[in-house]
């Protein structure tokens, strides 16, 4: 393992420990016992086979929504539209499933996945294209698109696509049982988890081992340099945004086809927002997303137990996520400050660090 990887892991674990300490102090101030809260969180996430499967169920969409932020981040974009891409992807997949009723089940399910991917991809692809061709800030536009997506979902499930039988919770008609995603043999977890794992692996190959990924790193490091190399910067930005949104759309498809059986407001579960956090914690590395998604899936899964046993409100997990996010971003400042540790190539590292000090800030302010 390289020295940089060790540095990353040490700083991340330190940030995690500090966050848990702050969170413990917070719940203590709220009148709960921190040790009991931590124990319940362990019990609700990794403590038993049942709770671990619950963790896996929640980690699956997080892996995909995290890619929505992680892939464009390689090109220096901050896209946070995972929630919207998941919602429209799920809605489109449900419509496809209903339309494909009667077709061979495997074909119908595949079509649902493909449409979910494409519609989710088009959704954030729009934010990417607006950034590339009109210079519209992609962070704000993708976040606005989340609200538009939720309005679209509400419009369709309460209006044109509403199943008259869904009284209390407006939903589309349920898709046929044989079109649903099945469970992984031996586990009580659906194939969405496989989607997540495969997508992270593919994204790793694409972003770390392919020419496209290499070009993306150049553009992300210095946009001007990318243009001077003759890279099709605009097209690359759109492609990355489409791939990221497609991953989140696939998460929506899996939620529809494996969990809910139809499209309704349950799709708006916050996976898109937690995915942003997962991506930042993994430093936008696709392979690192897998363990981080498991961690956050576990935090999410322990929510119910925290409410029942410690009598804490359901927003407790939100507080922990907020603390984690702030502390993790602040810990970025620690990179490169452990100079007393032995290094591989001292001369090269010193030159790089000098570059970081003097050249990088100016470059990022102009180009990022």
């Amino acid at each position: 393992m390289s020295r940089d990887a060790v540095e990353t892991i040490v700083i991340r674990l330190g940030a995690l420990a500090l966050s848990l300490f702050l969170f413990g102090a917070f719940v203590a101030a709220a009148g709960a016992s921190p040790l009991d809260v931590f124990y319940q969180m362990y019990r609700g996430s990794f403590g038993s086979a049942f709770s671990f499967q619950n963790t896996l169920l929640r980690a699956a969409p997080l892996m995909l929504t995290a890619l929505c932020t992680a892939i464009p981040a390689r090109l220096g974009l901050v896209i946070i539209g995972g929630e919207g891409a998941l919602v429209v992807g799920g809605l489109a997949a449900a419509v496809t499933g209903l339309a494909a009723h009667g077709a061979p089940p495997l074909l119908a399910t595949t079509a649902m996945a493909a449409v979910g991917f494409l519609v989710g991809g088009a959704w954030t692809g729009l934010a990417g294209a607006l950034r590339a061709y009109r210079g519209v800030n992609e962070t704000i536009s993708s976040l606005l698109l989340n609200y538009v997506a939720i309005a679209l979902l509400n419009h369709f499930v309460e209006g044109p696509l509403r199943d008259p039988a869904s009284l209390n919770k407006p939903s589309t008609r349920p898709i046929a049982p044989e079109e649903m995603l099945s469970h992984i043999p031996g586990l009580d977890v659906h194939y969405g988890l496989v989607f997540g794992l495969v997508a992270c692996a593919v994204a790793h190959v694409l972003m770390v081992r392919s020419v496209f990924g290499f070009g993306s790193s150049i553009v992300g490091g210095n946009l001007r340099a990318g243009q001077l190399c003759g890279l099709p910067v605009r097209r690359m930005i759109v492609i990355a945004a489409v791939l990221g949104g497609g991953a989140a759309g696939l998460a929506g498809m899996a939620e529809v086809a494996a969990v809910h059986g139809c499209a309704n407001a349950s799709l708006i579960a916050g996976y898109g927002y937690t995915g942003i956090l997962v991506s930042f914690m993994a430093r936008h590395e696709p392979l690192a997303i897998v363990p981080v998604a498991l961690l956050f899936g576990g935090i999410d899964a322990s929510n119910g137990l925290l409410q029942r046993v410690d009598n804490l409100p359901d927003a407790t997990v939100g507080v922990l996520q907020g603390i984690l996010f702030v502390v993790i971003l602040a810990s970025e400042t620690l990179y490169g400050r452990f100079d007393w540790l032995p290094r591989g190539q001292p001369a090269v590292r010193a030159a790089l660090d000098a570059g970081v000090e003097t050249v990088k800030p100016a470059a990022t302010e102009v180009s990022s």
Binding site: A30, V78, I80, L130, A132, Y133, R134, G135, V136, N137, T139, I140, S141, L143, L144, L145, Y147, V148, A151, L152, N154, H155, E158, G159, Y273, I276, L277, F280, P313, D314, A315, T316, V317, G318, V319, L320, Q321, G322, I323, F325, V326, I328, L329, A330, E332, T333, Y335, T364, E365, S368
Partner: protein, 311 residues
Amino acid sequence: MTPAASTSLGAWGVALALGAGAIRISTPFLFVSLGECITEKGGRVNLGLEGTLVMGAMSAYGVSYLSGSAWLGALVAGLIGAALGLLHGWLCSLRRVNDVAIGIALILFGTGLAFFLGKPFIKPSAPLLPAIDFGFWSSSREVRSALQINALFLIGVALAPAVAFFFDRTRWGLVLRTVGESADAARAMGYRVDFVRSIATMCGGFLAGVGGSFLSLFYPGSWNERLSSGQGLMAVALVIFARWSPLRCLVASLLFGAASALGPALQSVGVMWGYHLFNAAPYALTLAIMIGTSSATRALDGQPAELSAAR
């Protein structure tokens, strides 16, 4: 207003409701955008004002309920907003810490904290901010209700030219603009760039917190977890549209207020179709405005040169 009464006014009812909405709904937009304008003039972006808005709404309602004074609630909301702004300012002063990312984190942190601490305040009703009755001359109930104007709105309207005066005519305003235009020049003149930016972010947080108090203490006038739906974020986009001018922030806020009133106004005259779509009008409007005013090739007029994210 009741559906039957406004139906009798017909299309005028819709226009009146839009006008009333422009005044009633615009106040949080106005405060947040003026706050963000101050922050961005210093060269930083604080996306976390959405979280500040929610936190301000919750704390204002809680303090108003516990103390019985709505104005004390608004003040505390501002102070809590200032604290969140200071946190943002301080974290961004650290080396290699990105202001946009910290803003996203503070959205999650602010809303999470507000939902946690706000649980006990969802049910009870707190004293609200008083409205000033400007519609006493009219016999129409709709006009009278439209002209129930809150003092915070008037303060916001007065604040816009005051902030413009601060930017253009005062020494501190000049320092802030220098920091926003060229950090190196400001540093060479002996100003502490990070300090100035942190103070600017703190002031922006104060205004956003007060804007949040309007949500819970006047309109809609209660505290719940669906109170804010991206107003803080739209206000950040609105600053780009307003080209970093406080007076144009005022105009844009009124426009956004009217757009937000479109869904309820159409519903009140009996247009039931597409309620959710019309409610999404402000988001679509924000996007359309951003597309119309942005450019891929050049910086915008009035844009602080140190600003990295507002292209």
